[in-house]
């Protein structure tokens, strides 16, 4: 046993008391809880409404694609701060791997950082987000795994293509249905965490995805997962595939959308 100086004791006790009184949650029962705060729920629908409310009198606009946070929270914040300064970016799509172990706490930290964004954002679920009880947390905090929306006569399809962690095959029937009305839109963009040409897709799935993109005039298929930048026509057809780097470094992409074309900017802060 050693003796603490009385002054130190007071300081330590005071700090413990201060920490206790400032705790965001007084009690926590398990890292695997999926008890999402009501304020954090239904994020996708809230943001879809915000995107729907944007008034735009031009064919040209931009959106940002940020992906694979895992636990690089400071870089996520830097990227958000940079996007906030760019008025031509109207919304942000986050490409999955919001979390690393998919613990509720990780989702909450992500949510709190994204509160700093001054424009709407949407998410697609990544393979890491399915771990532990992440599937349940994601559903409560964000909403459906598959959804689509229209913006300025362009169609965006957000597609859950996680195979191993979700213990299911990607719902290609749903994707196909979503793409049937492609002729009504100037351009069609598909967002899925895992690129079809990587680990979790077998050759049948890859073929199915490739054909759906090609036959439905999809201009751009956007992905994360591989943690590096690549852009081009992977299958020698009309479809461009983009993979965006992870947040281990503060990097993201801006997609500038024109009347019937787009271009890509890679931003490295």
């Amino acid at each position: 046993m050693y003796k603490l100086h009385k002054f130190n004791k007071i300081i330590i006790s005071f700090n413990i008391l201060l920490l206790f009184s400032s705790c965001e949650k007084i009690f926590e029962f398990s890292p695997y809880e999926a008890n999402v705060n009501t304020e954090f729920k239904n994020t996708t629908n809230k943001n879809l409404q915000l995107i729907n409310d944007i008034q735009l009198n031009s064919d040209t606009f931009s959106f940002a694609f940020v992906t694979d946070n895992h636990y690089h929270y400071d870089n996520l914040r830097s990227v958000i701060d940079d996007i906030n300064k760019k008025d031509d970016i109207l919304f942000v799509i986050f490409g999955g791997d919001i979390a690393d172990q998919a613990l509720l706490k990780e989702y909450e930290i992500f949510y709190n950082i994204m509160k700093n964004l001054n424009k709407p954002y949407l998410t697609v679920i990544g393979n890491h987000d399915y771990n532990s009880n992440g599937e349940v947390v994601y559903k409560q905090m964000f909403g459906e795994y598959n959804y689509s929306f229209e913006f300025n006569h362009n169609k965006f399809v957000i597609f859950d293509d996680v195979v191993w962690e979700s213990n299911k095959n990607p719902d290609f029937d749903w994707l196909s249905t979503q793409l049937t009305d492609n002729a009504l839109f100037k351009q069609v963009f598909v967002v899925a965490h895992i690129p079809p040409f990587t680990d979790q897709f077998d050759s049948d799935m890859e073929q199915a995805y490739r054909l759906l993109m090609q036959e439905n005039n999809v201009q751009l298929s956007i992905h994360g997962h591989v943690h590096s930048y690549s852009f081009g026509k992977v299958y020698n057809d009309s479809v461009n595939y983009l993979t965006v780097p992870w947040l281990k470094k503060p990097t993201y992409c801006i997609i500038n959308v024109f009347d019937k074309a787009f271009d890509i900017e890679l931003v490295a802060l």
Partner: protein, 196 residues
């Protein structure tokens, strides 16, 4: 002396020490009989966790085996079962009349069953795709009040304790990132130990 021998010697020393304590202090019961039983509320090892514990190293270490439970109505997913080994160290013991007040610190090691978590990576993943995610450590600081009962026939005494703690992963994120604040990662626990 190689590592294994050192460990064996250490184990023997600890064991004899424990045994010696037991034989001098608690004359009737065997070394394997727990010294106390425990109920804890919260602390990232269950809504409620229950178990039993031993006093080691001349009461410098309190070691416990606990089972924690979170019902589905609270977890908002499946029921969460947690098996925990908890170690508490009283930093010092201050006596006030009939009670003893101790600042405490310690750690837990927990294993959680089910819910897409695993100790060994399932075969569908390439090797190294994920680290095992069914294990977590917590660390805590707090305070404990101990009182010995006057009538010791049924129970010898009781501890009430309060702790502030956090989980390994959360602490790692706070260290890595200034965006993760310390008040986001600490939460409290309360509990009771009843001594046989």
């Amino acid at each position: 002396m190689n590592k294994r021998n050192t460990f064996t010697l250490f184990a023997i020393l600890v064991f004899t020490n424990v045994f010696a304590n037991d034989t001098t202090l608690i004359k009737v019961k065997g070394w394997y009989v727990p010294d106390y039983t425990k109920v804890q509320f919260a602390g990232n090892i269950g809504l409620l966790s229950v178990g039993f514990g031993y006093q080691f190293l001349n009461n410098h270490l309190y070691s416990e085996l606990l089972y924690g439970y979170v019902p589905a109505s609270i977890s908002k997913t499946e029921v969460i079962h947690t098996i925990t080994v908890k170690n508490t160290f009283p930093i010092l013991n201050k006596e006030f009349k009939t009670i003893t007040l101790s600042p405490i610190t310690g750690f837990t090691a927990s294993f959680e069953t089910g819910n897409n978590s695993f100790l060994k990576l399932p075969d569908k993943y390439p090797s190294g795709y994920y680290s095992p995610n069914a294990f977590h450590f917590t660390i805590f600081i707090g305070a404990k009040v101990h009182k010995n009962f006057i009538n010791q026939k049924i129970m010898r005494g009781v501890d009430l304790y309060f702790e502030l703690g956090s989980v390994d992963t959360y602490i790692w994120y706070t260290v890595l990132s200034k965006e993760v604040k310390i008040n986001q990662i600490f939460s409290s626990a309360i509990g009771i130990n009843l001594y046989f």
